[in-house]
Symmetry: C2
Subunit: 393 residues, 2 copies
């Protein structure tokens, strides 16, 4: 069996596989063939060039196009995927009658090639099944999420130390990125979805907090260039501006999401009130967020609180409003579930969700903290704990 040094990880990988296998059994899949980095990483604990083949029972088989130190009695070196069925038959394994491919993630061309490996088999999409498995974290994953969250919070606390009056948003962002990398961030920021992409995070100052971005993040920002229109836009940080730092952390492959607000001088009262309201929403949702709660209800609760306090017009954006108040996070920043207007997801123990009840106050900027939480029997447990108050620079 393929071995990793860490015995705890080894056991955890078995747990992930059996969780996926149980979901496979529920929808009649005999096997799945995984080729994306994301799900290969989930099932093996590492990025490799190749495929994971998992039957509804038994251990996974790894087919590698390049060895790269990954060995074991269930690891096979191949030049091309067409060798996979040959090897399966040599092993005396019957070819699957119903096989899952990641139709939601692999290109149509790759899908055609992979589907041809199993002539006559019924083909199903297993992308959603894997996303649902990844949404509920295993014990080892929870350990990593916790470690990432506390290290993340510690880095954020250093952000004011690298601020200097007269800086642009981009200059301060560069210093923040430096702190994050110094703390051990791997830099890489994985995001699911074909039109999503992101550098390490964004810094939104003043009215740039209300700028509409083509990317599906809660608050966008205009960005520095039309080829990457999101985040900081090169403006000078000035008196009365709210500055939202939303930089993800990735120290071990798992992302936590956390935003904190800074202000140049004192902010307009409406912005301060919106920020307080955001903290109230955090506390309300954290208490309400026990396993079994509908994610749609959490969104509606947050939205109702904003409405009742008279902040509906600036809840989750300006000209464009995000229709969600939170999202799962883990190996990608946008894991399941979505805490959104039309979400069908139900909170489960072990899910990790980033909650971001944000407000855009024209003339001031974006306010409202974001934190990553673990869903526990008692409600949401914050993994990125640090003061949520606005830090006056």
């Amino acid at each position: 069996m393929f071995q990793v040094d860490d015995q705890v990880l080894m056991e955890d990988l078995k747990l992930r596989c059996s969780k996926v296998q149980s979901a496979m059994a529920d929808c009649g899949l005999d096997a799945i063939l995984i080729s994306t980095n994301l799900n290969n990483l989930y099932l093996s604990g590492r990025i490799f060039a190749g495929f994971t083949y998992l039957q509804v029972e038994g251990k996974p088989l790894f087919f590698l196009k390049r060895q790269a130190g990954f060995t074991g009695d269930n690891v096979y070196e191949i030049r091309k995927p067409e060798q996979i069925p040959e090897i399966l038959m040599e092993l005396g394994l019957s070819l699957p009658g119903c096989v899952g491919l990641e139709s939601g993630a692999v290109s149509h061309s790759s899908w055609l090639r992979l589907s041809a490996l199993f002539p006559g088999a019924i083909l199903k999409d297993c992308s959603a099944l894997l996303a649902e498995a990844r949404a509920v974290k295993t014990p080892y994953e929870i350990t990593l999420m916790k470690k990432t969250g506390s290290r993340h919070a510690a880095v954020i606390n250093q952000f004011p130390s690298v601020y200097e009056p007269g800086m642009t948003d981009q200059q301060w962002m560069t210093e923040m990125v430096g702190l994050m990398l110094k703390a051990g961030s791997l830099g890489i920021f994985r995001v699911a979805g074909e039109s999503m992409e992101a550098f390490m995070g964004t810094l939104l100052a003043g009215d740039n907090g209300g700028a509409v971005s083509p990317y599906d993040f809660a608050m966008g920002g205009a960005g520095m260039h039309p080829s990457y229109p999101v985040g900081q836009c090169g403006i000078k940080l000035e008196q009365g501006m709210a500055v939202m730092a939303d930089i993800a952390a990735n120290f071990y492959g798992y992302l936590t999401d956390c935003s904190r607000i800074f202000s140049v001088g004192r902010l307009a009262q409406r912005a301060l009130d919106a920020h307080s309201l955001s903290i109230d929403i955090h506390n309300a949702i954290a208490a309400k967020g026990v396993p079994g709660t509908a994610c749609e209800d959490l969104y509606n609760s947050a939205r109702n609180m904003a409405e009742q306090a008279g902040f509906a017009d600036c809840f989750m954006g300006g000209a464009h409003k995000a229709r969600f108040v939170g999202h799962g996070t883990g190996l990608v920043i946008n894991e399941q579930p979505v805490l959104g207007a039309r979400s069908k997801s139900i909170l489960q123990e072990g899910m990790c969700v980033a909650l971001e009840p944000k407000f855009y106050i024209a003339g001031t900027g974006a306010v409202g903290p974001e934190d990553t939480y673990l869903v526990t029997a008692k409600g949401l447990q914050c993994l990125t704990s640090s003061s949520r108050e606005i830090v006056e620079l």
Copy 2:
């Protein structure tokens, strides 16, 4: 017509469209429907959420899911792609009999949805057609590649200024990333291919230069964590080590690629000789690289020079050797053409290629500079000009 502020860019976009349309005519495509960020950016000069529909004649139509300041009489707001054929019919346009989708890049699920928009139409893959168009840069793109290259070279010259004895590779890398961002890098590093991903670049010190990575880069490195196994690995920079800094630049959406070698003290003679040989290969290939040259021949020339000098064993890697010595670059770091062992591409004027004849010397590290060139009538013109000598730290 959709307008961008820059009239030169506006004219250039027309040129890109007509180049693509000419290739479409050659393979009988009536229209293409583009949904990837990469090709939307190529055809519109910006990232947007939506689709570009280009017929074999006439101006492109842009279908946007979110407006984000992108307007014009050929820009249409939609909620879902199913509205596209309705709008085409309202405009009095006939639906295509043969339509191109980016089968090599869009997910199978998206492909199914998009292909259903044109019932009865013949569907073709237009991914390769677009990649070939992108490979040959237009005048505006060449301007951006030149500006990026010279700014890139200027940043690299600053790398020694942020080195301190006793640093780890990761610590120095963090400082280099800071310099790149301070110079205006957008951070985002686009790479084509389903299993490719990268942060801003890599720093390979000592024997880590020979570590095999699952990613298809010329030299890999072990990386800091199995979830991102490429690049610097956290080792201390020590006497006798070669340190290869391979950090791409992206100031305007276009990437230039450039590596320079630094040494802690003096390197082993064999490493110095390999580095000199690499510079000789650069000069030979630059002279040979006129339009019409087979890319395979350039690889073979480089390989033969390495062989004749007695460096075949360490050419392009250690345990794993890359089978290419260069690659196109532009909106993605791995554009066409590949200067590789089995490449069928022919150099064309206006292509931009990164040439990286690198050597891995066990016990010392990776040597051999990398530069980005423009293919001109006279051969390869270097866009990242700066001294290629090893800088002793």
